[in-house]
Assembly symmetry: D2
Homo-oligomer: 346 residues x 4
């Protein structure tokens, strides 16, 4: 049994890690930390977990943390992550970091969008943890930067088109919509039930969302040419789920069938990517609670656009699920261990 630690267990991502790991046959959670709930049983903080795991939140001194597990998930805010990760790596542990701190390979870009980086020396060896794209590197990594939720849906959705240079990168528009769990579990008027329910709006408009440099970095790798996207996130009155609607101009005269075949060729062996047949499109409620990314393709021939729809559960494939998928790869477990199972619908 791999002894696993969750640093920051009391947020929505941390607790989802606990939920997934509680039914993972190869691991045991040997420590779970929370400053806010130190000493409390996790089942008292999240009654849905009661009876399913036996975890008491701890808050050990930083120096004492590394010994408590063989493998760590750091599910804390950016900037806090970089205070913790280096010492874990130095102690010889493997880490999947779920913050943004190690996702950006160009330090200058990171510091432009976030703040000063204090452990830039680790960036070079960090692997970007989009499991389907970096599988081999992830297997050998000490430190994996788990992708952001929006980037996961967007990069998986566009990868086949960019790799084959089928779309003009300068025409990419991403209109993305996320459920409220993406905002985390902190007290905030903007995410109160009465502010979100029965409503819909955009936020962080005008190309200001911090997931943009992360997406552009990976889309640029795939396209082998610099990619700039226009990205606009919206807040959905749902708990879990992201749907990204992506528009681009095709560079060549290709049929819908050939594009569908291309996606099947790229993703046919990927258990966690499901292609929608024919003219159907994905829905967030059909990936709820699962690690699937559902992708659908539509051709708008009148307007000369291809439209790709990509749906994930933002706290599973967009966070905790993909983190476990990466942990499986890093430890030689079957990649889907603890992650199989249909979405919960209705």
């Amino acid at each position: 049994m791999l002894r696993v630690g969750i640093v920051g267990v009391s947020g929505y991502t941390g607790v989802e890690l606990a939920r997934i790991l509680s039914r993972h046959p190869e691991v045991e959670i040997s420590i779970a930390t929370s400053r806010q709930f130190e000493g409390k049983h996790l089942g008292d903080v999240y009654p849905n977990l009661r009876g399913c795991l036996d975890i008491t939140c701890e808050n050990p001194a930083p120096a004492a943390l590394a010994d408590r597990a063989d493998f760590f998930f750091t599910a804390v805010p950016h900037q806090t992550a970089m205070e913790i990760v280096p010492s874990l790596i130095a102690a010889g542990k493997k880490v999947v970091d779920l913050s943004a701190d190690y996702r950006i390979r160009d330090l200058a870009v990171y510091e432009q969008w976030y703040q000063r980086h204090t452990s830039g020396e680790l960036i070079g060896e960090t692997v970007y943890g989009l499991s389907e794209l970096y599988r081999d590197s992830i297997k050998n990594a000490r430190l994996v930067a788990n992708p952001g939720c929006y980037p996961t849906s967007v990069i998986l959705g566009l990868a086949p088109l960019l790799r084959e240079k089928l779309i003009d990168p300068s025409t990419i528009i991403v209109d993305a919509k996320s459920g409220a769990s993406g905002a985390g579990r902190s007290a905030n008027i903007a995410t109160l039930f009465c502010e979100v329910a029965d409503g819909f709006r955009a936020y962080k408009t005008g190309g200001t969302h911090r997931h943009i440099p992360e997406m552009e970095q990976e889309l640029t790798v795939l396209a082998d040419t610099p990619v700039t996207i226009s990205f606009t996130p919206h807040l959905l009155p749902i708990t879990r789920g992201i749907l990204s609607t992506m528009y681009a101009k095709l560079t060549t005269d290709i049929s819908r069938e050939k594009v569908q075949a291309l996606y099947e060729q790229n993703y046919g062996d990927e258990y966690f990517i499901r292609l929608c047949p024919g003219d159907t499109v994905p829905a967030t409620q059909h990936v709820r609670g699962s690690n699937f990314c559902d992708i659908g393709i539509s051709f708008d021939e009148r307007a000369g656009r291809i439209i790709v729809f990509s749906a994930i559960d933002n706290i599973v494939k967009g966070a905790a699920g993909q983190a476990v998928q990466n942990m499986n790869l890093m430890n030689g477990f079957a990649e889907d261990t603890g992650l199989r199972g249909a979405s919960l619908f209705p």
Copy 2:
């Protein structure tokens, strides 16, 4: 008191007409028809109206209908509308038709997207009822074709940019999201609570939604050049509200402030159009139950796009409210009669 008839009162649009007209000081509802609920009191079909109006649904013979009111709203499906409207016009009545039957000026286009038209002779005199754009013509019209819900939000959102030729029409992408009331009140598995709640998906993708020719007709008039848009509608788990997110490339180097000033110049005198100040954007929950169209503008300078957000309540400004606004214009009432009042939030 103007005697007003509502043909098709039992759908969500019809009943919203009844709700709005029940507090309109210049009119009385002299007849309201419903095949399904003939003989029933409207307050028994919609208990929210109980005590607020005294209407019994009727189903008169077509020939007997015209005499029952001086002014008619036809809130029935397309194709049904064209069976009723001609006789009302022939009887000298004024009509606001809320179906799609008279919105398209080019009969061939109508018949391509819908079906054969049986009263094409009325198309020539019909005025497209986007009140803010066709105010003067509406005042003198006998027949007004009330715009579709999506077109209302999209055309109002883009009009200033197209008039001034500030955007490239070939780059327009419209990512639109609507609440479930847009699907009407018919029994349908796809709009059951359990299918829609806590979820999100696109529908009628690939440029197939029937509001497209209507939008392109009006955008073409505004741009004075043929406009083709890429339009993708999505279904929100909310009851009322449309948010359209519209992307385009600017044709000229203009500042955000100048664009904001242009919108203020275009819409500053319009009571029902509210411009979001600064970097703020509209939200459907802030127009719920009102006849407002809230518009916000965002510049994505990195990606070279202007993004316009337009929010309406789909059954008020997107249907019944705008219909009453048109009725006011056609009868010399103050344009906002019966339509003032803040949105309901929370």
Copy 3:
């Protein structure tokens, strides 16, 4: 025009007062206070109000407040209210207080459930503002204590039965359910969208909710004998609305029809109380945004219980709407001024 002040305009109740008063023909809002948003335009805090009223939040010194209006609504938390109300009364102003501070006639009971009272001398003259029950006294009052939301639904629901001694007061069970707006607009993890949506639970169980003494006080007056109820509130994943389901044993063998007739006799002239016909029962969505209280009666003959259902919008009839109804009574306006109009459905 009556100059009206709203003390505490930035909570959900305060802003609903502003919304209702903005279309009231007899009043103008001469001051609206908010500590948190001092200097901000209310339309920037609540964009749904933009264009509908012109109010800037102020935070005047207590001594300067009274001069700013002729009539005041105090929509602040209990304990804060009693710091403000006495000086307004002393300055000769009329006040409707929406807190709990003046609802309980027995100071000892108030102090047992809340905390020490600092202006007990005003209790004697305060009128409990359940408009339908205390109409005449309200007309002559200087200070009206606006009822709590749950009490409004419960007292109106049970009044006819208790007055006629048709039910055994010792058997009353009230199972009440409220939307999340009842919790107010303060940042709180328990009322985040993700905690409330798609869920349901009870809270303040075991007879601990502070509305209990208020309900028992009024039910005791109606029954003319001490009444103790078992009251359990629940949190609904809706924004607005309370449904109270009330169970009791009949003391006599009376038919359902006679009870229905009794309610019609009691409430037939009340515009804001609507009795559900036959076997139908009220729904919160049918009172949303309106000042109505919908009441339905059911007989469970097998189990020997009468069940009364009472639905209100908790921030209209349960707070701001009833407060305006009381203001109308206190100033000789027609009781329904500014409050007519159907509920918003769907």
Copy 4:
């Protein structure tokens, strides 16, 4: 591997059976029937299941059905069930019937609440499938009648109190609330998103819900004296979940702690029953997607009532999950096989 058949796989209960069985290590689904979707892949009817199971809906002739599996779940409406079950039993198969047809032991009572029974001869041997109460009989049964959703929550909630005669059976009030999935997946105006969302109401009031005789039958067994309850169901704007709030008078002076201890003694060994500690109460969102029944107890000392709260997921513990639990018992599998795992929250 046990070959299992699902008769009626396309309703919400049938598809939940498929979802649960798809990860059950001891069974394979050898046939799944649906009249409506004959020939369609289940993953096309329910895209959440795509990639997780390989089932094509069939509609075999009744005579050919029995051979297709060794064990059957009949998830069809009452009256349809009794047309299918007898032939399966006659063919030597074991059956869990999820309809109401075999739940009522007294044929006269069944026929009074439902309609004529055509296979009354099976009633005598049928075991009522509330797993925690009838475990030993279920193990040896050929035919198990899976309990209704409301009865599961109510009977489990009250059993300890009735067995110990701690409450007066004549005082039991059950105020129950269910999510919309309980209404099934048939096209119906009353369960459209727009009719249910942001609202709340009671239905089948006055002691008319057909789950009442089933509950009274089992409560009577537990109490060893005839029990009549007053039961009122309500419709919640959520997808999954039932919360039953149950009120009764204690017959003896007993402390809250002793009652809590009694529940722990009754249910301490039951994996699927979780007792809420201290003053906490259950929430439907904490059992979503799981087979748990969460129970909380509250004492209202002022009003002399004990209040029991019982929460389940209506289509798991209230239907498909409990059916699998019974299948496990009937086949010698560990009772929790395929059913472990925490609820999905948020």
